[in-house]
């Protein structure tokens, strides 16, 4: 026994499942085996332990060929619950606190629906689930090993929280102190696991019986999927997983009960419609408005009805980039001129209408005309937390509607149609021609900007983006990475027309999201036979490079292009500001922000993890051919990586 205790938390302990082995069998089970006269020792469990013990029988309930076996372990029922909820994948780095559930997924469930996705870090597990959910439109699960695994996963859970993405986090834990083996099992147990992530999950629970687990699981799933969609946490007790269930049919697994999302109250939507129609220069600003493809269609319908320009902030794909009413490139002047701003699921309303430059005095100033009015629609007005600050600075809109934007759009459009009079239609019609001209001019300017440095080495981000675009635009493609540090060239020059073609970014701007989220999104695209591509910064990739192994291991087709500018340039600029303001020189700004000396060979890293890879590519004229080779690999069903040495932005 001592040899088992000396191993790390993931060692499998042999021979510990037999009744009578000291310190392992639940005391109550030992008591039942010994006869009704024995008094069980006091168990250090919450009051509902009696129910838990009533649900489960002794550890060994059957004997086969002389060997005791456990039949109907509780974790088999947990797999049934995953299936009832429609969870197709469970991401996990293995951990002993969920060994029961993992075994049930593989052997009871046949490792299909759900399928186990093996990851080398819990943050990868959670970020993968984050990316997946934005394509699949539903959550997957990630299994984490008690407190140590949950802490690893917490960065990615926070990103998902900020990004309003659903996720089922299942954390193994040994709740009963009386059945914890000494040393490691105590280091990896926690009385209240939820406290680690409670401020950035929507709900958490620690069920103490299987019936409790079943009901909490289904509640957690529905809460995660109800706007504002957020991660949820369920603690999965080790004993609940491993004990036999005498009568599995006695555990009632609730059916799915989807919750209808909150839609705007009709009078409020009517008021919003009236305000939009009164305006001469209305502007629509959308961030996470389109949760589904239907949401994007509704955005187009709304914008076309009143011929209002749309600024797409890119939290999701809200407005086709090739539509003339997508005027995202003119945000500054449109906001300045607007007399009515309609904000739909905005991350930061205050930051949209105010600026606070990064200057020593940090003085805010308004970006809107004094008489401009603001209508804000978001499900987060009805739900947010007090500790984490993703809620952003307070801004009192003229009309605030606590409702899901996508669910509210049909009512808003109906209200507009009812209230529109000929003069409103004429005013809208008059906006069309200038907006079409402005759209064309904005795209032409973007093309002119892209032409600068076209032939340069290091390769410009514009060249990188357009060479890739040329080779995917005729395919059923999807971009599964953020573009904030890429000059937003895809939004400026690609024709992004479908909702699934862009899924936004990190949410919480936590570095490391890129590769694992792309892997999760690509996993979801795989079943649809799409061609996913990602452009990921070198610094971001280096946080969780182990994501590449998961791509290779699970044969997830994805083309990753590394935007290798050999530094954390955002941070270099920050250091530059500090040193210049202090009159100490800009030459030292790269100290601590360069990713060179040595230059990381990302192609070698990727090959080492089982990917096809080429690079570093420094000649822009070589890019096209390399991309074509990479895409051929991806179309063959495998992941590929191309290392491209680029300019900073």
């Amino acid at each position: 026994m001592r040899s088992g205790l000396e191993r790390d938390r993931r060692d499998f302990l042999k021979g510990s499942l037999l009744v009578g082995t000291a310190g392992v069998a639940p005391p109550a089970a030992v008591a039942r085996a010994a006869g009704p006269a024995a008094r069980p020792p006091v168990a250090a469990l919450p009051p509902t332990q009696a129910r838990a013990q009533a649900e489960s029988g002794p550890v060994n309930v059957s004997v086969e060929d002389g060997a005791p076996i456990i039949v109907n372990p509780g974790s088999d029922l947990m797999v049934d619950m995953l299936r009832e909820a429609g969870v197709q994948y469970v991401a996990a780095m293995p951990g002993s606190t969920f060994r029961g559930l993992q075994e049930s997924i593989v052997n009871y469930g046949g490792n299909r629906d759900p399928e186990l996705i093996t990851c080398v870090h819990e943050e990868i597990s959670a970020a993968l689930a984050h990316g997946y959910s934005k394509v699949a439109g539903k959550p997957m699960a990630c299994l984490v090993h008690s407190n140590v695994g949950l802490q690893h996963a917490s960065m990615a859970i926070y990103n998902a929280w900020c990004d309003r993405a659903p996720m089922m986090v299942l954390a193994g834990d040994g709740l009963d102190a009386a059945t914890r083996r000494p040393w490691v099992e105590w280091l990896h147990s926690q009385t209240d696991l939820g406290v680690l992530v409670r401020d950035f999950t929507k709900w958490d629970d620690t069920p103490v019986s299987l019936q409790h687990y079943a009901e909490s699981f289904m509640r957690a799933y529905e809460m995660s999927c109800t706007p504002p969609c957020e991660p949820v946490l369920l603690v999965v007790d080790l004993d609940l997983q491993e004990r036999s269930v005498p009568d599995p049919k006695a555990i009632r697994i609730p059916r799915r009960a989807p919750v209808s999302p909150p839609a705007g109250e009709p009078a409020a939507l009517a008021q919003a419609a009236a305000m939009l129609l009164e305006a001469s220069r209305p502007v629509i600003v959308a961030d996470r408005a389109a949760r589904t493809p239907k949401g994007m269609a509704l955005m187009v319908e709304l914008a076309e009805l009143i011929k209002a320009p749309v600024i797409d902030k890119g939290g999701r794909m809200n407005m086709p980039t090739s539509h003339f009413l997508n005027q995202s490139g003119r945000q500054g002047e449109l906001i300045k001129q607007a007399d009515l701003i309609l904000g739909l699921e905005l991350t930061d309303l205050y930051g949209l209408v105010n600026d606070m430059p990064d200057l020593p005095e940090r003085e805010p100033h308004s970006l809107v005309a004094p008489a401009a009015r603001v209508v804000a629609v978001s499900s987060t007005y009805g739900y947010f937390k007090g500790d984490v600050q993703d809620v952003q600075r307070y801004y009192p809109a003229d009309l605030t509607i606590a409702a899901d934007a996508e669910a509210s759009l049909p009512g808003l459009i109906d209200a507009l149609r009812r209230q529109m009079r000929p003069e409103h239609r004429a005013a809208a019609a008059a906006r069309e021609a200038p907006l079409r001209e402005a759209f064309g001019a904005t795209r032409a300017k973007a093309a002119d900007d892209a032409a600068r440095s076209w032939d340069s080495t290091p390769i410009s981000t514009a060249r990188l983006s357009m060479e890739l675009w040329e080779r995917i635009r005729r395919e059923d493609w999807a971009l599964v990475s953020n573009t904030a540090f890429l000059g937003q060239w895809p939004q400026r020059l690609w024709d992004i027309t479908d909702h699934h073609q862009f899924i936004g970014g990190e949410g919480g701007y936590g570095v490391g999201y890129g590769a694992p989220a792309a892997a999760g999104a690509a996993l979801a695209h795989r079943s649809a036979g799409r061609l996913p591509v990602a452009i990921i910064g070198d610094g971001d990739l280096m946080v969780l490079p182990g994501s590449l192994w998961t791509l290779a291991h699970h044969r997830i087709p994805l083309l990753i292009m590394v935007q290798n500018n050999r530094a954390w340039h955002q941070e270099t600029m920050h250091l530059q500001r500090m040193s210049c303001r202090r009159n100490r020189g800009a030459e030292t700004a790269p100290t601590g922000t360069l990713l060179s000396d040595p230059d990381i060979d990302y192609a070698q890293v990727a090959k080492g993890m089982g990917l096809w890879a080429e690079g570093p590519v420094e000649d822009p004229d070589r890019l096209g051919a390399v991309i074509e080779r990479g895409l051929a690999v991806v179309k063959d069903g495998r992941p590929a990586l191309i290392d491209v040495v680029t300019q900073p932005r």
Binding site: A441, K445, A451, S456, C580, T591
Partner: protein
């Protein structure tokens, strides 16, 4: 100084690595000469951190910094702005970047070729097809055209305004002047130049004379239809 000579000092290692990175050939584009002077100028542009925001070829980056190549501002205009920038650009005192350094950086920026036009790049041509690169000079009834005045206005605009407001006045780091000034007369536009908003450089009177301001204001007003 070699990396070995730096020993384990991380700051010195970073400086050496940065200098090697900054001074490295090959040149950034096919047409830039590799003379020692050119290499030195490029190295200065990078070591002073200019490339971080304005990118390797001074082409700028959306939402970060405007294009500054090929040298759209005059040499003295550039120095005035570098010493007292508007917006979030950090100030560079003479201690941080000397006049001689600025001469070299300005020469580097001036040497950068404009590069191919979008119309000649197959991946970009469709966005500019049918669109004129030069902004039109409208001539309406009752409007007296003075070719010399228009030309003067255009020249001032190209020198002092185009980097931020776009060569075609459609905006960039700065707003579009086709729409944002549509309600302003030439006198109103001149007033903005005299008293610029917080993010706009103050070019009058150091860089722009009264005549320059009148010329460019008249030019911009004519574009926006006033």
């Amino acid at each position: 100084m070699s990396a070995l000579a730096c020993g384990g000092n991380p700051v010195m290692r970073a400086l050496v690595a940065a200098c090697a990175l900054f001074a490295a050939a090959p040149a950034h584009s096919r047409t830039t000469a590799f003379s020692p002077e050119a290499v030195h100028r490029r190295a200065l542009y990078r070591s002073k951190g200019c490339y971080e925001c304005h990118d390797d070829d001074g082409q700028g980056a959306r939402g970060v910094a405007p294009a500054i190549a090929p040298a759209p501002l005059g040499r003295d205009d550039m120095e005035a702005y570098v010493r007292h920038p508007a917006g979030v650009m950090p100030p560079y005192s003479a201690r941080l970047v000397s006049r001689e350094d600025l001469d070299a950086i300005y020469a580097y920026l001036s040497s950068l070729p404009h590069g191919p036009s979008a119309a000649k790049i197959p991946l970009l041509a469709r966005f500019v097809e049918g669109r004129s690169a030069a902004p039109p000079v409208p001539a309406g009834p009752g409007r007296q055209r003075s070719t010399a005045a228009d030309l003067a206005g255009r020249q001032v605009y190209g020198r002092a305004c185009g980097a931020c407001h776009g060569a075609d006045l459609n905006g960039g780091i700065g707003p579009s002047l086709r729409t944002s000034t549509a309600a302003r007369s030439a006198a109103g536009i001149a007033a903005v130049i005299h008293n610029p908003p917080r993010d706009m450089p103050r070019l009058f009177p150091a860089s722009l004379s009264d005549a320059d301001v009148r010329a460019v204001a008249t030019y911009v007003a004519s574009i926006s239809g006033r």
